[in-house]
C-alpha cells in the first residue's frame, strides 16, 4: 500500500497566464495529459471517458494518447469503479475517476464519504488515498431535477476530502494538476457552463489564457477576481462570471463590487473571505448550490463569527431549496442569475 509520500518535482504556483487560449475542457485534459506523462501511476476511469471523450469533453483525446490501459471505460457501476479507484490509490496508483454527473453521487456515496474520505484518518495516517474524483455540476439547460445540481456543499460537509471548483480555464488546469499531485482525495467539480462546449450556452470566459507548462493553483486559496470597496460578492464556478458581469455594470453607477472566487470549498479560504468583508462591510454570497445548510450559510457564518458586530449587510443568492425545475422559465427563476445578483447588490449598498 501507499505509505510514503511520493517525491514530486516542485511545480510553479500560478505563473503568468500567457497568451495561448484554451477552453476549460481542454485545460482539464491538458493537466491530466501532463500528469499522465510525468507519472505512469496516473490513469483515468469512468463512463464514456474513452472513445466518447467524456460527456462534457473532460477526457477528449486521452484514449488516443494513452490507450485503453490507462483511459478506461467502465460499466454503469459507480460503486464498483469508484471503489476500484480507492483500492488502486491505496496501492500507490493515482486514479482520476469521473462520475459523469455529480447528481449521481447517491448511488456511490458510501465509497466516497465512508471510504475514500476516511481511510487515511482511520488508519492513523498510515494509508493514503491519492485519488481525484471529477464530476460535472450545474444547470441552466433544462436537464431537470436529477441532472442539474451543484452539490458541492454535500461533499464539503463531510470530512476527509478536499473539494475544488474552478471557474475558468486557468484555474481548471492548475487545480487539476494540484489535485492529481495531492496525496489526499480531491473532489473536482466542473460546471458544464464553463467547459466551453460547442453545444451548450457558455460564458464567454469559458475560453481563456492558459500556460503551456504544468503548474499548480494551490488548493485552499481563493482569488480576488475583482477588487472593490462597497460590497463583497463571495462566489464560485459559473456564478463568478455572472458576478463579474454585474460588477462591471454597476461600476458605471459608482457601485464598486469586490468579487471573490473561492476556487476551493474545502479547505475554505476563510481568511480571504473575512479580509474582503472586513473591508467592505457588506456580503452577498452567490451560490448555484441549494441555499440552506450548505456553502452560502458557511460563508456567512464564517464572517459572522469573525466580525459579529461589524456587518452592514448579509444576504445570499442561491437555489432556494427546490428541486431544479425542468421548464426554462421556472429553472431561471431559481438559478442565481445576473438579475438576481444585481438586485441583491443594489439592496446591499442601499441598506
Amino acid at each position: 500500500m501507499s505509505t510514503a509520500p511520493t517525491t514530486q518535482i516542485q511545480l510553479p504556483l500560478e505563473p503568468e497566464a500567457g497568451r495561448r487560449k484554451l477552453s476549460t475542457a481542454k485545460a482539464i485534459t491538458e493537466a491530466i495529459t501532463q500528469q499522465m506523462h510525468i507519472d505512469e501511476k496516473v490513469f483515468v476511469m469512468g463512463e464514456d471517458v474513452g472513445p466518447y471523450g467524456g460527456i462534457f469533453s473532460s477526457t477528449t483525446g486521452l484514449l488516443d494518447e494513452f490507450g485503453p490501459e490507462r483511459v478506461i471505460d467502465t460499466p454503469i457501476s459507480e460503486t464498483a469503479f469508484i471503489g476500484l479507484g480507492i483500492g488502486a490509490a491505496v496501492e500507490g496508483m493515482r486514479p482520476v475517476v469521473e462520475l459523469m454527473f455529480v447528481d449521481f453521487f447517491g448511488v456511490c456515496m458510501d465509497q466516497i464519504y465512508n471510504h475514500m474520505a476516511k481511510i487515511h484518518y482511520e488508519s492513523g495516517g498510515n494509508v493514503r488515498v491519492p485519488m481525484v474524483l471529477m464530476s460535472a455540476a450545474g444547470g441552466g439547460y433544462s436537464d431537470g431535477a436529477q441532472h442539474s445540481q451543484c452539490l458541492w456543499g454535500t461533499f464539503a460537509h463531510l470530512p476527509g476530502m478536499k473539494v475544488v471548483v474552478p471557474s475558468n480555464p486557468y484555474d481548471a488546469k492548475g487545480l487539476m494538476t494540484a489535485a492529481i499531485r495531492s496525496d489526499d482525495p480531491v473532489i473536482y467539480l466542473f460546471h458544464k457552463g464553463i467547459m466551453g462546449l460547442g453545444w451548450m450556452k457558455k460564458n464567454p470566459r469559458s475560453i481563456g489564457a492558459v500556460p503551456t507548462d504544468a503548474y499548480e493553483v494551490p488548493i485552499g486559496k481563493a482569488r480576488v477576481a475583482r477588487e472593490g470597496t462597497d460590497v463583497s460578492i463571495v462566489t464560485l464556478s459559473l456564478s463568478v462570471h455572472h458576478s463579474l458581469d454585474v460588477a462591471e455594470k454597476l461600476a458605471s453607477e459608482g457601485i464598486d463590487v469586490e468579487v471573490i472566487d473561492l476556487r476551493s470549498v474545502v479547505p475554505l479560504d476563510r481568511e480571504a473571505i473575512v479580509a474582503s468583508v472586513g473591508k467592505t462591510g457588506r456580503l452577498v454570497v452567490v451560490d448555484e448550490d441549494y441555499q440552506s445548510f450548505g456553502l452560502s450559510g458557511e460563508v456567512i457564518a464564517t464572517v459572522a463569527e469573525a466580525l459579529p458586530g461589524g456587518l452592514k449587510h448579509v444576504s445570499r443568492v442561491a437555489v432556494p431549496d427546490v428541486p431544479i425545475p425542468y421548464a426554462s422559465g421556472l429553472e431561471y427563476a431559481v438559478l442565481p442569475t445576473p438579475a438576481r445578483i444585481e438586485a441583491a447588490v443594489r439592496k446591499a449598498v442601499a441598506g
Binding site: S142, P325, L330
Partner: protein
C-alpha cells in the same frame, strides 16, 4: 383477467399500430426538438430544451409489454421513457405538454422528459440508471397486500443491469414473490459503451438464476416473441408465482441522446435495415393480414393523434415563474 397465449390477426395489427404510433411520436419530438436549436446546436435552446433520449427502434418492447397490461398495472421506465409511456396508456397530450415544459403537462413542467409521472395509469420514470426498479417493487407490494392481481413492470437498459439496484431489486422481489416483471432493453449500447465492455455475461437472462426466478432472452427485437415472453411473466405474476426477468435484444436506431454524433458506433451503417417497423410490416403483409392501405391508415391515425398532442402542448401556457417554489411540499401544493 384472462390469459391469452395466441395472437389473433387483430392483436398483431394492434402491435404494429402501437409501434407506428410510438415512432410517429418520437419523430415528431425529434422534429420539434431540432426545430429551433440552430444555428449551432444549443442543448438548452428552443421549445424543447434539455437532454432528449428517443426510443426509435425499441418500439417492439413497449408494444409487447403494453398489450398485457390494464389501467391498474404499474410501469416504471428510464431516461428513455416515451415508448413505454405511450404503450402503457399515459395521456399523450399531457406527456407532450410536459416535454414542452407547460403548466398542462404531467408534472406542470417541473419534471421534464425524464420525469414523467402519470398516477392515473401508475406510470413513473427516473433519470438515474437502474434506480427506477426499486420503486416498482413497492407498487407491486401495495398491489399484493391489497389482495389484487395487479402487476408492476420495471424496465431498464442492459447497461443498467450492472448497477447495484438491479441486483437488490431482483433479490427482494424474488424473496417476497412480488408481482414484478423486469424487462431489460438490450440495445447493445450504454451511451458509447458497448455491451461487451459493460457486462460479463452474454445474456442477462442467466442472471435470473441468481435469484431463482425464470429468465428469458428474446432475440431479434421480435415483437411477437416479446409479447409471448411478457405474457407468460405477467401470468405468473398475477397468479402469485413471483417475478420474472426478460431481456430483449432491441435496437437503438438513433443516438444515445439528440446531438450524439455516434462516432464510436461501428454498427451504425447496418442499423437502418434492422428497423423493426418495416420488418414487422413486411411480416404481416406476407402473412396476408396487412395491406398497404391499412398501413398508410395506421400512419395517418398516428399522425393525427400525435400532432394533436403536440399542438396541445404548444398552445398550452408556460408555468408562471412566480410558482417555481410550489410543490416542494404538499402544503405548498395547495394553491
Amino acid at each position: 383477467m384472462t390469459v391469452q397465449s395466441v395472437l389473433s390477426a387483430t392483436d398483431k395489427l394492434d402491435l404494429l399500430r402501437m409501434m407506428v404510433l410510438i415512432r410517429t411520436f418520437e419523430e415528431a419530438i425529434l422534429r420539434e426538438y431540432h426545430a429551433d436549436k440552430s444555428p449551432g446546436f444549443d442543448i438548452g435552446a428552443g421549445l424543447v430544451p434539455g437532454e432528449m433520449h428517443l426510443a426509435a427502434g425499441q418500439e417492439p418492447v413497449a408494444a409487447g409489454i403494453g398489450a398485457h397490461l390494464s389501467l391498474g398495472d404499474a410501469m416504471t421506465a428510464t431516461h428513455r421513457p416515451h415508448h413505454l409511456a405511450i404503450a402503457h396508456g399515459v395521456d399523450m397530450r399531457k406527456m407532450a405538454a410536459e416535454i414542452f415544459g407547460r403548466e398542462t403537462g404531467l408534472g406542470r413542467g417541473r419534471g421534464g422528459h425524464m420525469h414523467l409521472f402519470d398516477p392515473k395509469v401508475h406510470f413513473s420514470c427516473s433519470g438515474i440508471v437502474a434506480e427506477g426498479l426499486p420503486p416498482a417493487l413497492g407498487q407491486a407490494f401495495a398491489f399484493q397486500r391489497a389482495g389484487t392481481d395487479r402487476v408492476a413492470v420495471a424496465v431498464a437498459g442492459e447497461g443498467a443491469a450492472n448497477q447495484g439496484a438491479f441486483h437488490e431489486a431482483l433479490n427482494l422481489a424474488a424473496l417476497w414473490k412480488l408481482p414484478v416483471i423486469f424487462v431489460i432493453e438490450d440495445n447493445d449500447w450504454g451511451i458509447s459503451v458497448p455491451r461487451s465492455a459493460s457486462t460479463s455475461v452474454p445474456s442477462n437472462a442467466v442472471r435470473a438464476a441468481a435469484y431463482g426466478i425464470p429468465g428469458t432472452r428474446v432475440e431479434d427485437n421480435a415483437v411477437e416473441d416479446i409479447w409471448a415472453a411478457v405474457g407468460e411473466a405477467v401470468r405468473r405474476a398475477r397468479a402469485g408465482e413471483g417475478p420474472s426477468l426478460i431481456e430483449v435484444h432491441t435496437l437503438r436506431l438513433w443516438g444515445h441522446f439528440e446531438g450524439d454524433a455516434q462516432g464510436y458506433r461501428g454498427d451504425l451503417e447496418g442499423v437502418p435495415g434492422r428497423d423493426p417497423i418495416p420488418t414487422y410490416q413486411k411480416h404481416l403483409t406476407d402473412a396476408g393480414i396487412l395491406d398497404g392501405a391499412a398501413f398508410t391508415e395506421m400512419g395517418a391515425a398516428a399522425s393525427t393523434k400525435v400532432e394533436d398532442a403536440i399542438a396541445f402542448a404548444k398552445s398550452s401556457p408556460l408555468p408562471d415563474p412566480a410558482d417555481a417554489l410550489k410543490y416542494v411540499f404538499t402544503e405548498g401544493a395547495q394553491s
